[in-house]
Structure formats: structure tokens, C-alpha cells
Amino acid sequence: MLRLEKRPQPSRTLSYVTPVLAVLITMVAGGLLFALLGKDPVAAIRTIFWDPLFGEFSFYYRPQLLVKGGPLILIALGLSLGFRAGIWNIGAEGQYIMGAITGAGVALALYPLEAWWIFPAMIIAGALGGWAWAMIPALLKVRFGTNEILVSLMLVYVAEQFLASMALGLMKNPEGFGFPGSRNLQQYASAHNAEIIADTGMHWGVAAAFIAAIMAYVMMNRHILGYQIRLTGEAPRAARFSGVKPARLVLFCMGTAGALAGLAGVFEVSGPSGQISTGFNVGYGFTAIIVAFLGRLHPFGIVLAGLLMALTYIGGEAAQSTMQLPGAAIQVFQGMLLFFLLAVDMLTNYRVRFVAREAV
């Protein structure tokens, strides 16, 4: 008989091993899934995990790693603060959209003015846009005790409708021959989030993600705020006894997550994507939840997990085009990763024992 036994202390080693274990199990289960779809599982896994990095076309795929990883890392870092404290912001996708709209809005309003301060102003506007969108569930929770999971999630769909209305209405390119979508900011020098080093994928958003990771690390480990976040997550009653004000913590965590998601949005719209369009958002806000947990809610873990998730995006697209795998199969694959991670996670707190069934 198998029995689970609580460990006196959570195992440190296993907390590093379980993410790797989860990735391996996902590869096996994903391979099975691909085999059931009639594809060669080994080739599929290789197309997703190996070819983008070391294959024939890696010169094209490698920069994409940073382009896709940047926003994932930025959003996941923000989410991880709240998740540590038991505050569940599921609506980063909406905050990401709103950041892109407010940031792009500044640029589109100023077009065709050229000035050095336009790009910084967009960044600030983007962060504020995401922050404000996150404040809605935060204030409702603090004031009326609503559930932040539901409110933040529903606001994603509101943001998507708002995005569509912007792309088709107010922000539509007047010189776009009636096509939906805004002007392309890549062609507006003062607003363009260009690559810092050409052909590496390294743009300002990626730099911001790395800086945010370092700042998050310092805050979580060296600052009283980080301590209070961890304390609230582990023992809410002890946190109140210690003097943590739960409402302030909700506002801080939700606000920071929203601002970082907004930043990711503005860097994306002014860089890789270039324009506000109906299909602007591709689910970074949701994938970032997986990234946050895969990275153990630890800033540096999140950087690694973000790059890994970016790889599944890129590899997934490659597998779609070269092996005709359905796009949904890739999403299932990413979902499995979170599923298995949460499952094997139990091993850090419990150990499995084999017990001989006792004679009655």
C-alpha cells in the first residue's frame, strides 16, 4: 500500500528537482498524445525542444526565444508576488492588453511628432494602464470582499472587447485602406521598441524583464515587503499578528502584477507586434501563470521557466507548420506541464512510503 507522509520540513533538493521531473513527464505524456494523433512522437518532441535551438533554422528561432520569453517573464514575475501571498490574479492577459492600448495610445496621439521622450512616456502609460486594470479586482476585493480570481478573469474578456473596438474604431489606421488595426509603430521611430542588439531578439522589454527579476529577488529575500508577502502566504493569521495589513498587500501585489503585465503589453505593441489589432494578444497572460509555478515562484526560476515556455511556443509553431500538429495539441502540451508540476510538487512536502497492509 502506498502512503503519503508529511515531511517535518519541505525538501529543498526536491523543490529544485520537481520542475525538471515535470518537464520529463510532460515529454512522455505529450509524446503519447502525439502518437495517438498519428505523428512520430520522437520527431515531434525533437521539433519542439531541440530543432529551434540547434536545428537547421536555429538562426531564425533563437532570437524568438527572447522575444517570446521577455513578456512571459515580466508577467510571471508580477504574478508570483501575489501567488506567494495567496492573492490570485488570473487576469494578467487583460492587464497586458490594457497596457498595450494605453501605451500605444500615447504614441498614436502624438504621431507624427518625433521626440526622445515619447518612448519613455509610452512605457509609463503602459504600466499605468495595466496597473489601473488590476486595481479594479483589487479594490473590489478590499472594499467588498469579492473574489479576485473571478473578477480579474472576467475583466480579460472585457479587455478583449475593448481591444477589438480600438482596433476597429478609435485607433484604426486612417491610412490603412480600411483594414482593421492601428498604425504600425515599428515605422514610427520615436515609438519603436527596436532591438538593442540587432538579430538577437534583445529589445527593451527583455532588458526590463531581467532587471525586474533581479529587483524581485532582492525584494523577496532582503526586504520587509517580500517577507510580509511570504508570511501572508504561509500563515495569514500570523501575518496579521505581525502587523501586515492584508488590504495594503492586496493592492500592492495586484498593482505590481498589473503594472508589469502592462509593461509587457507596451513593449510588445511597440516592438515585435507593432500595432494594435484584434489578434494582438496570444495568451501570454495565461501562459505566465504556468511560468510562475514552473519557476517555483522564484525570480530566477521564472527566468528559466519563461525561456522554456517560449521554447514550447516556438517549437509548437514549428511543429504545426512542419508536422501539421493541431495548434490545440500544443496548448494541451503546455497545460500538461502545469498539471504534472502541481502533481509532483506534493513530493516536496510529503514523502511516499510503501507500507505493508496491516493484518486486521
Binding site: Q9, P10, R222, E234, A235
Partner: protein, 505 residues
């Protein structure tokens, strides 16, 4: 039937790192009240859990009523006529008495029938109970009655009671003892677990004394003195805390007509509490569990806030201040619940030292934490209060309850409070450590701190208090000097028998 009802032979149970019971043997005769006596951690609980089928012994055997007895589960124990009343009740607040009793039965009868039986049995044994009342509305004493009646409905041959009087007022204890004597006269054996010696002397026929998992002696409680039993229990003479009474100084803490609603549905709201504590004074507050102790502590720690003038510290109105602000002004508190309230279970002792010490001990600067200073502070608590732990980086949940309690109290004492409020400071702590904690509280008072000790242990309160009061349903009794109080007076202050009566049949 001749011979013992239950015979225990060489029971041994080891857990990783400790031997909870080592070769324990004794007999319980039919109709005998047998005391199991020992300090916290002596192995009493493990032993009765083996008898009740909750824990399987590693070695040894039991004989019940002449045939072998090795219960694998509590159901088997109950089927053989063994029933147990636990120290912590397993009752659902939102269900009524009859529903709670039905939950523990394999095949409960119809509710009306069961209610009738509950009424009959409870009155027959002098423990009247209304089967339709919500458990959430009952006092601790009444809840215990529910547990006892639940056992009596099974017609037990052996009734095990684990520290039953810790939640009762002296008057309620008398009612309970009358019931137990009646059961004994009817031939039921009772295994009575306690560390309160006077109770054992007045109730029990035989006593088995455990120390560190071993049986260290037996006695007939009526024929020995309490001091002799204490010596057998502890193995040496107990160090009694010393007090050097100082002339009371200025008023440090004053509560003026403090009224706060309890945040919990079945909590107790505080009603019009007025008191003063002076520098150098120890104020003891007694009361049966659930009479507003937790709420009073929360109202003092700042977890519950009230009108500014209701709490006054050194002349400053601080009723609206939160925990952090009160702490920086010198009002420190230690709640009863160690894991999850006074300490974060999964965090290290260093991190737990930060929990209340960050500001007063200068463990941070501009919001940035000084880990080496925090570690040093944790290490000093561990050393001064003899906390048994591998080191400062051990998680709080890995410590035994008593050791964590020493850490939690030590953390506050070491911060040189102006006013210290503790709730159940020595709950679950062995006698030597309890003496250390009490001595530390008295030393603080001698240094000019005003100390409030909330406790359910009357002996403890009598030992440390200068003045004495009691909480009853959220109200505070008159406060009287502790010396010269009789048990009778104390009982009345605690609310007598909580309006509970003995049924006169």
C-alpha cells in the same frame, strides 16, 4: 467476573527519535477509578491511544475482560466496551447536540428517539443536556457533557478521560466528579488522565505514574501527599518561581469600558472590560476556554481595533492603532495558538524571530532586512530559553509544542516590553520549562514591566499573579488581590457553574 477488567502487559511504542512508552504494565480493576499521572510528554496520551485503538503498539499485549484485546481501530475498542472523552472536542458547532451524537454512531436511531435517550441518560447521570441546542452555543463544560453522554450511550465498561477538568470551573469539576463516582458505583471502570494532583487524590482509587515513557511507580492517591506524587512524577524537587514583590508603580496599561464584537461566528464578544495594570504588577486572568480570552488578546495586540480611548498605554490612547504601532510603543503580546498565529509553521526560527522583532530589535533598516542580526536574535532566544532545536534555520513546525512555546514567549520577553500580555504561556510545556517561563515573566515584572497572564491553569495563576480576575462570557469579574483567594471565590468569579445545574433525580 473476577480479576482485572483490563490488564496491560509490557506495552512499548517508539516513534523516530523517541520512545513514547517503554514496557508499561498495569491493571485496572472493575469499578475502579485509575489515575494515569505524568508530565506533558511522559507518554500518557500515547498509552491511552493504544488502549483506544488509535495507535498500534510495537510490543506488549492487553487483556480485556479475560480475552486478548488488540484493537486495530477505535470502532473495535468501542465494540469491546472502551470509550474515550478527548481533551479536544470533536464536535461540529453548526449542528445540534443530537446530530453531533448521531454522527459518532455506526447506526444512529431516529433523531427523536435519540434525543429522548440523550435526555434520559444525561439526567440520570446528573449532566442535563438539551439535545436540540446548537453546539456552537454551548459552553466548554456543556460541550464536554456532549462528549461524555456520547460515550455513556454505548454503556462502556471502561471510560477513558483525557484531562477532563482543564476546561471546567471548580464547581463544574464537582459536578463531573459526582457523575464519575456514580458510574464507578455502577461498576464502570475509569481511566483518568491528569497532572492535577489534588483532583486525583479526591477521585482516584489507584494511580500509575509515568515519566519519560516508563512506569516509575504506583500509589494509592488517598494515602500519599500531593508533594510525594509530584516528586514521583517529576523525579526531582520542583523549582518554584521566586518573586520579589515590588511596590506597584504607575499605571502602564488601562482598558476603559472595552467592548469589541468577535470576528468569528461562534466567538465571544468582549463586553465593558475595565482594568488597570501597574508597572511591576502581574495580573492573572482566569476563565474557561472560549470566554473571550482570544478576543481580549487580539484587542490588545491590535489585531482587533476599537475606539481610541478604550485601550490606553502609558497615557496614550492606542485603541485604533494596529499591531506594528502598538509593538513599537512597547505593548507586546503572545497568543495561545503557536502554529499559524504566534509563529509561521513553514518558516525558519530566524524568520519567525523577525515576525515580531523586526522593528524593536533593529533587524531592518529602511525596510531592508538584516539577516545576520535576525539570526543572532533567534540564537539568543534559543540559548536563554533552552529551546531544543538543531539550529536557527529549522522550520517552526519541526519543533515540539513545548519548545516552540519557549521560543514564542522568549521572543517577546527578550524585546524588553513595557507591557506584556500572554495567553496560555505554559500550555503543553513540561514542568521545568514552565517554571523557566514563569520565572521570566516574574523577572520582567520585577524590572518594571506590567504583565497580564491569561491562563486556564489556576495553579499557574496563583503562583505568578499579584491580582486576579476572571473572564466569563466576554465580561471581566471584579479584580482582587491574589493572596487569600479561596477556590470557592475563584469559581464564583469564573461564573460559577455557568448556570449549569446538577439534575436532582
Amino acid at each position: 467476573m473476577t480479576g482485572p477488567l483490563l490488564s496491560i502487559r509490557g506495552l512499548t511504542k517508539a516513534y523516530p527519535g523517541v520512545v513514547a512508552n517503554d514496557d508499561v504494565s498495569f491493571d485496572i480493576q472493575p469499578g475502579e477509578v485509575h489515575a494515569l499521572l505524568g508530565e506533558n510528554g511522559a507518554g500518557k496520551s500515547t498509552l491511552v491511544k493504544m488502549i483506544y485503538g488509535l495507535v498500534k503498539p510495537d510490543q506488549g499485549e492487553m487483556v480485556l475482560g479475560g480475552s486478548a484485546y488488540a484493537p486495530g481501530q477505535p470502532q473495535e475498542a468501542r465494540a469491546r466496551g472502551v470509550a474515550m472523552v478527548f481533551q479536544h472536542f470533536s464536535l461540529f458547532d453548526a449542528l445540534n447536540v443530537a446530530e453531533n451524537v448521531a454522527l459518532g454512531m455506526a447506526e444512529p436511531p431516529k433523531t427523536n428517539e435519540l434525543a429522548e435517550r440523550i435526555r434520559t441518560v444525561s439526567e440520570q447521570y446528573g449532566l442535563p443536556l438539551d439535545p436540540w441546542k446548537l453546539v456552537g452555543d454551548l459552553s466548554a463544560g456543556e460541550r464536554q457533557r456532549v462528549e461524555i453522554v456520547r460515550c455513556l450511550l454505548q454503556d462502556p465498561k471502561l471510560l477513558i478521560m483525557d484531562e477532563p477538568t482543564s476546561v471546567l470551573t471548580p464547581q463544574e469539576v464537582e459536578i463531573l466528579f459526582a457523575t464519575l463516582r456514580k458510574l464507578k458505583d455502577e461498576g464502570t471502570s475509569i481511566l483518568y488522565i491528569s497532572h492535577k494532583l489534588e483532583e486525583i487524590r479526591s477521585l482516584c482509587d489507584e494511580a500509575t505514574i509515568l515519566r519519560l515513557g516508563r512506569k516509575v511507580g504506583t500509589c494509592t492517591p488517598r494515602e500519599v501527599t500531593a508533594a510525594q506524587m509530584a516528586e514521583m512524577m517529576v523525579g526531582s524537587e520542583l523549582h518554584r518561581p521566586e518573586r520579589t514583590p515590588a511596590a506597584p508603580g504607575a499605571v502602564r496599561l488601562a482598558l476603559n469600558d472595552l467592548s469589541v464584537a468577535s470576528p468569528g461566528q461562534f466567538g465571544t464578544s468582549l463586553k465593558n472590560i475595565t482594568l488597570e495594570v501597574r508597572a511591576g504588577e502581574v495580573l492573572g486572568l482566569a476563565g474557561v476556554a472560549g470566554n473571550g480570552q482570544d478576543e481580549l488578546l487580539a484587542a490588545l495586540s491590535g489585531e482587533l481595533t476599537c475606539k481610541a480611548g478604550m485601550v490606553v498605554l502609558d497615557g496614550r490612547e492606542i485603541g485604533t492603532a494596529g499591531p506594528g504601532q502598538r509593538r513599537s510603543l512597547g505593548l507586546l503580546t503572545a497568543p495561545e495558538e503557536r502554529l499559524g498565529h504566534a509563529a509561521a509553521p513553514d518558516m525558519s526560527l530566524t524568520e519567525n524571530a523577525l515576525l515580531t522583532g523586526a522593528e524593536r530589535e533593529g533587524l531592518m533598516a529602511n525596510g531592508f532586512l538584516k539577516w545576520s542580526k535576525a539570526r543572532d536574535f533567534a540564537a539568543r532566544i534559543i540559548e536563554r530559553f533552552d529551546v531544543r532545536t538543531p539550529g536557527t534555520e529549522t522550520a517552526a513546525r519541526a519543533l515540539s509544542g513545548g519548545n516552540l512555546q519557549k521560543f514564542v514567549i522568549g521572543r517577546e520577553v527578550m524585546q524588553r516590553p513595557e507591557v506584556l500580555v500572554v495567553n496560555q504561556p505554559t500550555w503543553g510545556v513540561d514542568a521545568a520549562a514552565a517554571a523557566t517561563i514563569r520565572q521570566a515573566l516574574l523577572d520582567l515584572a520585577a524590572g518594571g514591566t506590567a504583565v497580564v497572564v491569561i491562563s486556564q491553569d489556576l495553579d499557574e495563576l496563583m503562583e505568578v499573579s499579584d491580582n486576579f480576575g476572571a473572564l466569563n462570557e466576554g465580561r471581566l469579574s471584579e479584580i482582587l488581590p491574589a493572596t487569600g483567594l479561596t477556590m470557592e471565590q475563584i469559581g464564583l468569579m469564573m461564573g460559577g457553574a455557568h448556570g449549569m445545574e446538577v439534575a436532582h433525580v
